[in-house]
């Protein structure tokens, strides 16, 4: 437990006055995401602790520097969980960093992302003002949805201090099954299954096999196992943790790691390369050295985007190029929160 919001606010205010750039850090587990930034380190990890937990409301309010492992432990006692299954990266990840990087695990297409379950955020904007948006309630349309806007903003709009999240009960039963098939068959099968009312909470293709996870009430899972097809065999449940934590051999080494976020049923291109599919086909990982422009045109064809997720040149652009009108508005929005350009400047795009 620690409350350093006043100090954080004072630091940001001073930086706003002097124009000194700040680089926001909490657990330091995701320094590989986004572009390299310079700036004085602003450590928010000391701002941590669970502020309010209402199990009967399924609502949790925490300081942004709170470790995910601490949150998970607290929720476990009441058989509840963070629905979006975030990676905890050796226990270092914090909830603030998770929201800033919009990180969600294999369950995301079915249980929502961290953005989806964010109900409220308190942040310090680039003027050094501490502001509260959203709240503790599930529904709230008063004013713009500044809370969800923080998802994926990579700390460039504000230093988050408090976050309120919606929770879910932990499913009573879980089952993992797998079946060998090629990537095209896997894409087809994942999309067919997602069209049926089944309690799926994970669908991934790796190493030539399609893995499925079913979760829910005991009877729901047993019933669904009978419907996915007899060719599926019981599989190793820990596969989901290893996909989430990126601890599979697929993720090892220093080759560039590309992330495609595309239509789940988009076709498979450059099949001879090293791929891993998650999110029922909507999130696809690729290893190797490619021209960004080439992969962007591929991603456009597939109805989505690509980013250079990890390794490679992190001084250049790493996220999908935005159309000029979009880029212009993104810059203007950044400026509305951080007119002096002091918060994680350039972490997302050059100038943003």
């Amino acid at each position: 437990m620690g409350d350093i919001a006043d100090e954080l606010e004072a630091t940001v205010r001073a930086a706003a006055a002097s124009g000194k750039k700040l680089s926001i850090v909490a657990g330091g587990s995701k320094s590989f995401v986004g572009r390299n930034v310079s700036g004085e380190r602003l450590d928010v990890s000391g701002h941590c602790g669970i502020l309010d937990y209402q199990p009967a409301e399924l609502v949790l309010t925490v300081r942004a520097g709170t470790k995910l492992t601490e949150i998970a432990q607290c929720l476990e006692e009441r058989q509840q969980m963070l629905p979006f299954e975030p990676p905890d990266f050796d226990g270092k990840a914090t909830i603030g960093g998770t929201l800033a990087c919009d990180m969600s695990g294999p369950a995301r297409p079915w249980r929502g992302s961290v953005r989806d379950v964010t109900l409220g955020v308190t942040l310090i904007n680039g003027r050094g003002q501490r502001l509260r948006f959203g709240g503790q309630v599930l529904k709230n349309v008063a004013g713009y949805d500044v809370s969800r806007l923080q998802a994926g903003a990579m700390g460039t709009l504000g230093v988050m201090t408090e976050i309120t999240l919606r929770l879910l009960p932990t499913p009573a039963a879980t089952a993992t099954v797998f079946c060998e098939m090629d990537s095209r068959a896997a894409i087809k099968r994942m999309n067919e299954l997602a069209r049926l009312p089944l309690p799926i909470s994970g669908a991934a293709w790796l190493g030539g096999s399609l893995y499925l996870r079913l979760e829910g009430a005991e009877r729901a899972v047993t019933g669904a196992l009978g419907k996915v097809g007899p060719e599926f065999q019981p599989g190793d449940e820990s596969i989901w943790m290893r996909i989430r934590e990126q601890s599979l051999t697929f993720f090892e080494g220093n080759a560039s790691l590309w992330r495609f976020s595309v239509a789940s049923n988009a076709g498979h291109r450059i099949e001879d390369q090293s791929w891993l599919f998650d999110w029922g086909g909507a999130q696809r990982w690729l290893r190797g050295e490619f021209e960004m422009k080439y992969l962007e045109s591929l991603a456009n064809d597939l109805g989505g985007q690509v980013s250079l997720y990890r390794h490679g040149d992190r001084a250049g652009e790493v996220f999908h190029t935005q159309a000029p009108a979009m880029r212009n508005l993104q810059l203007r929005l950044k400026n509305s929160f951080d007119p002096h350009g002091i918060l994680n400047a350039g972490r997302m795009y050059h100038g943003i």
Binding site: E57, S113, K139, P169, N191, P197, V262, S336
Partner: protein, 484 residues
């Protein structure tokens, strides 16, 4: 800091000539009688006649409209189906009203990807109707779903009785095309689950038409649940019903829908649709569970047990689809049902942490006595969204004013217990002054700054959503003069 546009005063027919450069004559309404249906939304205490009503049919026409309005410094108000309950689509008397009603095509249903691409004027229910043949549906189901448009749903982040499990509009939209104030066409989101950069889906959804005009939408479709049943239970008090709701959630069950009505609303709904609601109950719960048949039966048993433990005076489980539809019909027609027993009613839309329901309803009762107006309560109990319906008679001098004052007190109460002044109906023109109850000056200033980034001249839906600094000062001085 932007205020609403300081627009020059135009003559309607001269203005129509300018718009004929970009629209056909039949797309421009000038005469008063034809404009009349557009003078208000479903909160008719706010009325205004726009200079012109425009009915574009393409994105390019909307682009041309925004460009021309930008040049002329003319306010632009978008309108979907006009079912809004916060005067969000209230016209600006010095501006144009842009009706999206003719943009009503379902462009594509991709059953495999489970995505529907539709124009903004498409009715909410029409999406589900088009998707049903593939075993899919669009989840957010506002009670107004036969009429309201998906564009309006985006503007208000609409919910429905099933949003406890399946989310609000913001959880079910993948992307959209937006025409900005200066006439640029933006592609927001896509076919994937996220895009890089700031999440403009999140920003546009719930922004009440203040940041751009939505011209196309991509929504997620979900598989129709295999089986669904609703458990209906009567309770002797709102408090015990509230406790039963918390107990269901604490038992690890996420119902597809969980609704509460108080005695007054039960009577009105029962008179209207004869759904078989227990007339003697002080509170009614409707709790729907869906999933596989086995799973549903397991949950239904569990829920019945909990309801009995918390003192249910009656309990009934729907046996078939027909009965399930009937039980929901009473709830879904609660507003018009209350409308029948009173000349006028005023629908509030506050949200509260669920555990405060008892305290809040008691306080509402006291306020009702104090102001001398009856109140029926309809409550999205699962997600803490309360709809007190204040009954009044507008033909009695002063009663509308009393109803509004009473409504304001209820909203202040919601904020006091940690809730919000609006869960799904929006701020619109109606709740502007209560934004000051929920947000401080610095927070409001951040909202203006966002608005300014998208619409520097303030031409989009002026006077809605976010009070201007000047309005804030005015409200404060009124409040101060009341207090002294």
């Amino acid at each position: 800091m932007n205020a609403s546009v300081n627009s020059p005063i135009y003559d309607a027919s001269a203005l129509a000539t300018r718009f004929r450069e970009i629209l056909r004559s039949d797309q421009i309404i000038v005469d008063a009688e034809s404009k009349r249906p557009y003078e208000c939304d479903a909160l008719p205490v706010y009325k205004a006649m726009p200079l012109l009503v425009l009915a574009p049919e393409t994105t390019q026409q909307i682009q041309a409209i925004n460009r021309l309005c930008n040049e002329l410094k003319l306010p632009v108000v978008a309108r979907g189906a006009g079912t809004g309950l916060s005067a969000g689509a209230l016209p600006d008397k010095n501006g144009v009203l842009v009706s999206l009603a003719r943009l009503c095509k379902i462009i594509e249903i991709d059953p495999e990807a489970r995505i529907a691409r539709v124009q903004p004027g498409v009715r909410n229910l029409a999406i589900t109707e088009a998707a049903e043949e593939y075993g899919l549906y669009y989840a957010p189901d506002p009670s107004s779903q036969i009429a309201c448009s998906i564009g309006g749903n985006i503007a208000e982040n609409s919910g429905g009785v099933h949003c406890l499990k399946y989310g609000l509009t913001v959880h079910n939209v993948l992307g959209m095309e937006v025409v900005t104030a200066d006439g640029e066409i933006l592609q927001v989101g896509g076919c994937g689950l996220d895009t890089a950069g700031y999440d403009f889906n999140a920003l546009f959804i719930g922004s009440e038409g203040l940041l751009g005009i939505v011209t196309e939408v991509r929504v997620k479709l979900l598989p129709i649940p295999e089986h669904a049943r609703v458990v209906m239970a009567g309770f002797a008090s709102v408090l015990s019903a509230g406790d039963a709701v918390s107990a269901v959630i604490a038992a690890g069950i996420i119902p597809a829908g969980l609704e509460m009505m108080d005695g007054f609303a039960i009577q009105a709904a029962e008179d209207f649709v004869s759904a078989g609601y227990p007339r003697d109950a002080s509170a009614l719960l409707l709790c729907e569970v869906d999933g596989s048949e086995n799973e549903v039966l397991e949950h239904v048993e569990h829920i019945e047990k909990i309801f009995h433990e918390f003192g249910a005076t009656s309990c009934r489980v729907s046996r078939d689809e027909e009965e399930r539809a009937l039980l929901w019909k009473g709830r879904k027609s609660a507003f018009p049902a209350v409308g029948r027993i009173s000349p006028d009613y005023y629908c509030m839309d506050g949200t509260i942490p669920r555990r405060k329901i008892g305290t809040v309803l008691e306080a509402i009762h006291r306020l009702s006595d104090q102001y001398g107006l009856r109140i029926a309560n309809v409550f999205h109990a699962g997600d803490g969204n309360l709809h007190p319906l204040i009954l009044f008679d507008a033909s009695v001098p002063g009663e509308l004013h009393t109803a509004e004052a009473l409504g304001g007190k209820i909203l202040e109460l919601c904020v006091e217990v940690g809730g919000s002044i609006t869960g799904e109906h929006g701020v619109g023109a109606e709740k502007l002054r209560y934004m000051l109850t929920q947000f401080n000056d610095a927070e409001l200033a951040q909202f203006y700054a966002i608005k300014d980034a998208f619409d520097p001249s303030g031409m989009l839906n002026p006077g809605k959503g976010i009070p201007t600094l000047r309005q804030c000062q005015e409200y404060r001085s009124i409040d101060a003069s009341i207090r002294t």
